[in-house]
């Protein structure tokens, strides 16, 4: 969350400075681009993963935010699905898949088993695949295989 606040503060500062110079329209700060789907993001996707409190035994924290493209408004109640190769199973195993909903601040968090390197990289998969916004499939890579958490930001484009 710290990173998000810092980013927002930086954005406001930049926008404020730009507005004061009069060179850039204030609307500049309102344009938040949607997150593009990543290559391979949908690999081993199983549509309709159940909403669970935790995937398997947990121990690894997947966190993220979901915002609306354009104005950047946090989106509550959005269903985010995730899966990975973990200490408890392969990507395509149904038990490796789970979903959660964002809270009132558009934040989601999921306790899941430790992600381990598979197919050459320690990575996870996340998907937004509901009706209100364009689908987005992500395949973030962990900076280190020993990381015990991963943070992912979604910016969704309304349909």
């Amino acid at each position: 969350m710290t990173k998000l606040i810092q980013t927002r503060r930086a954005l406001l500062a930049t926008a404020g400075a730009a507005a004061m110079t009069g060179l850039v329209k204030p609307a500049f700060a309102q344009r938040l681009a949607p997150t593009p789907t990543m290559r391979g993001g949908a690999n081993n996707y199983r549509p309709g993963a159940p909403i669970v409190a935790r995937i398997g035994g947990g121990g690894f924290l997947m966190t993220g935010t979901v915002r609306r493209a354009g104005d950047g408004m946090p989106l509550p109640g959005q269903r985010i699905q995730m899966w990975a190769h973990t200490t408890e199973g392969h990507e395509r195993d149904p038990e490796s898949h789970g979903a959660t909903l964002t809270d009132e601040n558009g934040v989601f968090r999921m306790d899941m088993p430790q992600i381990v390197p598979a197919f050459g990289q320690p990575h996870g998969h996340l998907a937004y695949d509901s009706d209100a916004f364009e689908p987005v499939f992500l395949r973030p890579i962990m900076s280190s295989a020993s990381d015990t958490s991963l943070h992912v930001d979604f910016v969704l484009q309304p349909v």
Partner: protein, 197 residues
């Protein structure tokens, strides 16, 4: 048809070094913690790849008759069998990975994978297949054409393999991986630069 001469001690050292170069990466990979979280078919696919790397190191040594006690004729005979084995190992590698995660392998084969090492693995695979086809046509080619084309393809195989392997965070242990890659590059350079036997 010359058998490389040398002292028995020198021969023993060469064979020992070769044995270490081929077995150390396999032994080190067998200790990888990642194995605990992989199905047998995925593990087998990985080891098929490591064994193929070892076979790649053998190839130039066999083809040039430089191994102590192995004649050029014997070496080339074994070289053909190892070459056929390489194709089998690469096919096993790809099929094992395909069974483990079909979409990732399809992406790699179609050159649209998010992982930068996949493309090099697929290039090396096609170069190995091409080398096999070329070997079957060898008698219809002029010696110089055959020799250059086969070496060029082998160089693509080694380059592709090294760029493939070096970027992968997998079961191979780093030091043995880098050492085997260095040996492969060295052997390939040596084939191009060494004076003809």
């Amino acid at each position: 048809m010359t058998v490389t001469s040398g002292t028995p001690f020198k021969s023993a050292v060469i064979w020992l070094a070769l044995g270490v170069a081929l077995s150390a990466p396999l032994i080190a990979a067998a200790q990888s913690p990642l194995l605990a979280w992989r199905d047998p078919i995925y593990i087998a696919a990985g080891f098929a790849g490591i064994m193929a790397m070892g076979a790649l190191l053998l190839q130039p040594l066999l083809a040039t008759g430089k191994l102590p006690g192995v004649s050029l004729w014997q070496g080339r005979h074994v070289h053909r069998w190892v070459g056929a084995g390489l194709i089998v190992m690469v096919v096993a590698h790809v099929i094992g990975l395909w069974i483990t995660s079909p979409p990732d392998v399809i992406d790699a084969l179609l050159f649209r994978s998010p992982t930068p090492f996949s493309v090099w693995g697929v290039i090396a695979m096609w170069a190995i297949f091409g080398s096999g086809v070329l070997a079957l046509m060898r008698r219809r080619l002029r010696l110089r054409v055959w020799r250059f084309a086969h070496r060029a393809l082998a160089t693509v195989v080694v380059t592709g393999t090294v760029l493939h392997v070096i970027q992968i965070e997998g079961t191979m242990e780093d030091i043995t991986k880098i050492a085997l890659c260095a040996l492969l590059c060295g052997a390939t350079l040596w084939v191009w630069t060494a004076p003809r036997a």
